[in-house]
């Protein structure tokens, strides 16, 4: 069930340039079903910015009723969020959407987790849950440049981890797809820019592939029809899926990206 709750901030840290890790105490944690779900945050206790901000859950702890988000400070909403301190309360709506299906890969199989930039965070909880299930995980994390890299050590604890940067200032120079050719795996879970998701869909249509999409959202609960996408088998018809409530994770080939 989706809840609206005022959640006290436990901690907030800048873990890379303009990248913040924010942990809150929240009863709504008990409602989280899957890695890859998100919450909708009201950043201002005022009219500006008016709408909530969708932010993915990067890890959660149901026993201690807390969860963590990692976001990039970019616009007005996230800039306000970045100024908030422990003890302050955040108006959070969630959990929202459908996340990554971990049942699609069995223990002893290998899952490849591919993240691009601010698409990396939801893969962290996914990685933890897959490892707990006995799945081998390999991570390929792509960033723009060295200062944007985060969570490499955390991912390394769960399995093999490759980091790429577009400008080559850290790790392997290039895009995530440049290192994937040499890896063996049964299933891919990915979150990142649309261009990355498109490239994966194009090259790995023979694999089980799950993609987490991003779209501008209004309500986050499926009522406003802002974040709809077309179905791949009905590209010009009237059928649709909503990224917020049907997704954000879809099986590759289900919707047009």
């Amino acid at each position: 069930m989706i809840q609206k709750e005022f959640c006290p901030i436990i901690s907030q840290t800048e873990i890379a340039e303009d990248i913040f890790e924010l942990t809150v105490k929240a009863c709504l944690v008990s409602q989280i079903k899957q890695p890859g779900q998100f919450v909708h945050i009201k950043a201002a206790n005022a009219l500006d910015p008016l709408l909530r901000r969708p932010i993915s859950i990067s890890s959660f702890d149901q026993e201690n009723e807390q969860f963590t988000m990692i976001y990039r400070k970019e616009g007005r909403g996230t800039s306000l969020l970045a100024k908030m301190e422990p003890g302050m309360e955040l108006d959070i709506l969630g959990p929202l959407g459908n996340g990554f299906p971990i049942e699609e890969v069995s223990s002893e199989e290998t899952a490849l987790l591919v993240g691009g930039g601010i698409g990396v965070p939801p893969l962290f909880e996914l990685s933890k849950q897959l490892v707990a299930k006995g799945v081998n995980v390999i991570h390929v994390l792509g960033f723009q440049t060295e200062s944007a890299v985060f969570y490499e050590q955390e991912f390394l604890k769960n399995g093999e981890t490759y980091v790429t940067t577009v400008d080559g200032t850290y790790g392997i120079q290039g895009f995530v797809t440049d290192v994937m050719g040499n890896l063996r795996f049964e299933c891919i879970y990915a979150c990142g820019p649309t261009s990355m998701l498109k490239a994966l869909e194009q090259h790995y249509s023979d694999k089980k592939l799950f993609l987490s999409l991003e779209e501008r959202m209004g309500c986050g609960i499926g009522a406003c029809f802002a974040c709809v996408c077309r179905l791949a088998d009905d590209p010009s018809g009237v059928s649709y899926k909503k990224v917020c409530s049907d997704g954000p994770v879809f099986r590759a080939g289900e919707v047009l990206i």
Binding site: M1, I2, K4, K42, L47, D48, P49, L50, L51, R52, L93, E215, R216, M217, G218, C219, G220, I221, G222, A223, C224, F225, A226, C227, V228, C229, R230, G237, V238, Y240, S245
Partner: protein, 313 residues
């Protein structure tokens, strides 16, 4: 003491608060948060004869204290609304106001004829003011004679009272209001969104795929208040006011301007519980302001005696 009961043509409202069309789907999403029977009424998403996909994305862009949308009347079409959405809504004790849209006069007439037969549809809202579709919609809402004619045609076939949703994107809203009153409208709903635009800082291009969109939210409230103030003094049919309503205070301001009920739009996206919250807060605020009944607030901006008998339960 019931301070909120309001009666309007076709509508016996336990309170004058209702979600605005397009901001509430067909109610399903919000039923996760509260019992929809708490609402005065529900204005369901615009219905057209055929299903519509709507516009490409991005469909929303945030603005200062508001948002632009260009959804493009996405809806499952008349058949599905009648066979699935309205029967589902009938589990709730709440009158439905069906928003009727189309490209041609005969589209409006077909939708109005069929949808007004549904048992829980107590009124129609004629959408002649959607700014986000290429044909129909706003074309009917900017020329008084055309609006009047369409209202008349729809009135001929509708089994329930017809409210006409006015566009603020006109030079003279009073003239439009009078024209649809002449055409036989039982009430008005106002205002629809204001046409606006936002450009991306990096690319310089419009953020919305549709280029322009409809501005809603608190930013437009003063425009709506002014227009209701003018129109309510010029016509004798009731007005359901809307535009940036977020609180019980906003509702009172709309009544002062001349509205007889109020719809809540964009605020539902920010706080899914906003309608029941306002409904709870209204009686407290009325008491604080010294009103026994909300109808006493109506038209206070222009009439010291401020109330009309037919609004009283």
């Amino acid at each position: 003491m019931n301070r909120l009961h309001v009666e309007l043509p076709g509508l016996k409202l336990k309170n004058p608060i209702m979600p605005a069309s397009g901001c509430f789907g067909f109610g399903r999403e919000y039923s996760q948060f509260y019992d929809l029977s708490k609402l005065g009424a529900i204005m369901i998403k615009a219905t057209t004869v055929e299903p519509r996909f709507g516009n490409p994305t991005p469909r929303v862009a945030e603005t200062d204290a508001g948002m632009l949308n260009a959804i493009g009347l996405q809806n499952p079409g008349l058949k599905k609304v009648i066979s699935e959405e309205l029967p589902w809504l009938s589990q709730y004790d709440v009158p439905i106001i069906a928003n009727v849209a189309g490209s041609l006069e005969e589209d409006y007439v077909s939708v109005a004829r069929e949808i007004s037969k549904a048992g829980n549809v107590h009124a129609l809202e004629l959408n002649i003011s959607c700014p986000n579709v290429k044909t129909g919609g706003i074309a009917f809402g900017t020329i008084p004679e055309v609006a009047k004619q369409l209202t008349r045609k729809v009135k001929e076939v509708s089994r329930v009272p017809v409210y006409v949703k006015l566009s603020p994107n006109v030079t003279n809203i009073v003239e439009m209001a009078k024209a649809v009153e002449d055409g036989g409208a039982d009430g008005l709903t106002m205002i629809n969104t204001l046409v606006g635009m936002r450009l991306d800082l990096k690319t310089g291009k419009p953020i919305l795929a549709n280029i322009t969109g409809g501005l809603s939210g608190p930013a437009i409230k003063p425009v709506a208040i002014r227009m209701i103030y003018e129109v309510s003094q010029a016509v004798s049919i009731p007005i359901i006011g809307m535009g940036g309503v977020q609180s019980a205070e906003d509702v009172i301001e709309y009544f002062y301007a001349g509205a007889s009920a109020v719809a809540v739009g964009t605020a539902n996206f920010v706080d899914p519980l906003v309608c029941p919250t306002i409904i709870e807060e209204l009686p407290v605020l009325l008491k604080k302001l010294g009103f026994e009944h909300i109808s006493e607030c109506r038209g206070r901006s222009w009439n010291q005696h401020g109330q009309l008998a037919y609004h009283r339960a």
